[in-house]
Amino acid sequence: MKFRAKIVDAACLNHFTRVSAMIAKLAKTCTLRISPQKLNFILSDKVANGGVSMWCELEQENFFSEFQMEGVSAENNAIYLELTSENLSRALKTAQNARALKIKLTNKHFPCLTVSIELLSVSSSSRIVTHDIPVKVIPRRLWKDLQEPTVPDSDVSIYLPVLKTMKSIVEKMKNISNYLIIEANLNGELNLKIETELVCVTTHFKDLGNPPLASEDASQDRDPEQMAEVHIDIRKLLQFLAGQQVNPTKAVCNIVTNKIVHFDLLHEDVSLQYFIPAFS
């Protein structure tokens, strides 16, 4: 198994750092999947995560000037590593004014992802910073749990409002209730609702727009006014929103009534899918 990659462009480096910071906010521990064309940050829907799952994908050639990898075997040309997301994020943050950043898989008594940074400094000599991030190599038999999740057939698909606004609203709602109802319809309306014995609070978002539907049948069957709703744990929604520091290029919310809510975001060229199941 081999992996070495290099970033020399400052914009690419900043973007990669931002992606890594977002992942660190979304998942404490995650799986990094390295394949010839892509890098994926994966959180599988285990009970430990509360059923939440995440799939983040980026095209390696959009970031790295050099990229070489050799997977476990020719048929299974991928590497799955488990790491603490914050470690990678912090290491990348120290590469603010780097001339070059190299990442490689190394074995220093135990497997590590070594991030090696050449920093520009005021004087002529450059500084070399190295971080050895411990990782765990995930064996092939566990790979099946870490595949791209299938996008469910949603009842309603809607574009999200400004995430920062959503986040501040959900933050306030968290103080009142642990569970939130997210509902939307095909008329561009989205509601965030909390209900307790004493009080009900609803925030209405209008004119959001709906992405074009995949199949024509579905759009004719469904009444555009009818809301599809899911009851979810408010903290999971908040964690997702807290990870979005920058407003995404595209943000879609897909709701399967009483089953799951699926967020599909695009940050420039990095796609993020986040699934929050309905609480039972």
Binding site: T84, N87, R90, A91, T94, K108, H109, F110, C112, S121, V122, S123, S124, S125, S126, R127, I128, V129, T130, H131, D132, I133, P134
Partner: protein, 418 residues
């Protein structure tokens, strides 16, 4: 009796010094003299010592008069002997940026009749804030450390050091500084094999030309406490002065110092002593830090009781060799009953009772690990301890631990006292 005054911006620097010293210990000595106002603190396991001296020209006005006690034989000039709790004084100097903006003048004075330090802030809009802080009478500790005799000296701008420090997480306990004539490397250090599989190892290589002064006499790697380094760093950023790092071989204390026209600061930190048998691999078996420190304290005190040589317990410990430069509580005299408490400051109550305060780390564990891979912090202070004021009447300022040793050293060596 102390009376001094400073402006708002000077208060900021003064407050930063207190904050830096608070990283070392929960107690602070206020030690005024003709040289200026010194702030001192020592940590409980005696592995770090901080000293900041503000010269009289730092202040808008500075007045120090000693109370002269005349007794039968001679007259004694006494120190203020003022020990303050950090919990009392740190909150006063909180929000330094707002203090800098609002405070027009700050006055600090002591009242010789009451054990109080009065800190007064004259703020904008005619507001005056007065803090009365009670202090305990306690002789300050001093350290003898000849920093100019160190083989390695580096002077670096605080900004460069700050950029290195961000590499490490705040949970990082120790860092290692490795130097050769060609490069300087600051890297994370861990003595727990468990830690390694979980924590990130980071290192930064800095070239010699980033230093204002670069003198490496001996290639070495020293490991010291990160928290204390950060404390000194925040202070130096406030003073905009470069930091000088003086060090030698592992085991010998290192000094971080700032020398400015207006102030002088020294943080003397213990470094981990290297065992000759220890591999340089970070995964060799070692004990945890706290246990090592207390072990060292115990072993030195055990030795003091039995009169054994320190090196019999700590073969790699460099302390003995450097002994002439440093005073050690346990060296030769076992007959002085206060010896085992030599490491502790003796607090004098106002009514004249003398009570020895044993160090908590000393009384802790009695076991001295027999593992040959032991790494111990060398402890190099001790205090200005006097069980009897009369013994030290002719050394009012240079109160040192062991009477006979100290006096000889004082007369012979060119060591400097902080």
């Amino acid at each position: 009796m102390l009376k001094c005054g400073m402006s708002g911006s000077q208060v900021k620097v003064f407050g930063k010094a207190i904050q830096a010293l608070s990283r070392i210990s929960d107690e602070l000595w206020l030690d005024p003299s003709e040289k200026g106002l010194a702030l001192r603190s020592v940590n409980s396991c005696r592995s770090a010592y901080g000293y900041v001296l503000f010269s009289p020209v730092f202040f808008q006005h500075y007045q120090w008069s000693t109370s002269v006690k005349v007794n039968e034989n001679d007259s004694t000039t006494s120190n203020l002997n003022c020990k303050l709790g950090m919990k009392s004084i740190l909150p006063i100097f909180r929000c330094l940026s707002s203090l800098e903006r609002n405070v027009e003048k700050c006055k600090i004075f002591t009242r010789s009749d009451q054990c109080k330090v009065v800190i007064q802030f004259f703020c904008r809009h005619g507001i005056r804030r007065t803090h009365n802080v009670c202090f305990q009478e306690s002789q300050p500790l001093q350290v003898i450390f000849e920093k100019n005799m160190c083989s390695n000296t580096l002077i670096i701008q605080p900004r460069v050091l700050a950029e290195a420090v961000v590499l490490f997480t705040s949970s990082q306990e120790e860092v290692t500084l490795a130097v050769t004539p060609l490069s300087v490397c600051l890297k994370s250090s861990s003595d727990e094999p468990m830690d390694l599989t979980n924590s990130v190892y980071s290192e930064m290589f800095v070239g010699p030309d980033e230093f204002d002064f670069f003198q490496i006499g001996v290639d070495t790697e020293i490991t010291f406490c990160f928290k204390e380094l950060k404390g000194m760093l925040t202070f130096s950023e406030a003073t905009h002065a470069p930091i000088a790092i003086h060090f030698d071989f592992p085991g010998k204390p290192m000094a971080l110092s700032i020398d400015d026209m207006l102030l002088e600061a020294n943080f003397i930190l213990a470094t981990l002593a290297d065992e000759p048998s220890r591999a340089s691999s970070p995964q060799s078996q070692c004990l945890s830090q706290k246990q090592k420190r207390s072990d060292l304290m115990c072993s030195t005190n055990n030795n003091s009781k039995t009169g054994k040589n320190v090196t019999s317990k700590a073969p790699g410990c460099i302390l003995r060799k450097a002994a002439p430069k440093r005073l050690y509580p346990n060296e030769t005299q076992t007959d002085i009953p206060t010896l085992e408490n030599c490491g502790s400051p003796i607090m004098k109550r106002v009514n004249g009772d003398i009570s020895a305060v044993p160090e908590s780390s000393v009384s802790n564990t009695e076991e001295v690990p027999g593992s040959s891979h032991l790494r111990k912090f060398s402890c190099m202070f001790f205090g200005a301890v006097s069980s009897d004021q009369q013994e030290h009447f002719d050394h009012p300022f240079d109160s040192l631990a062991i009477a006979s040793d100290s006096e000889e050293d004082m007369n012979n060596g060119s060591s400097s006292t902080f």
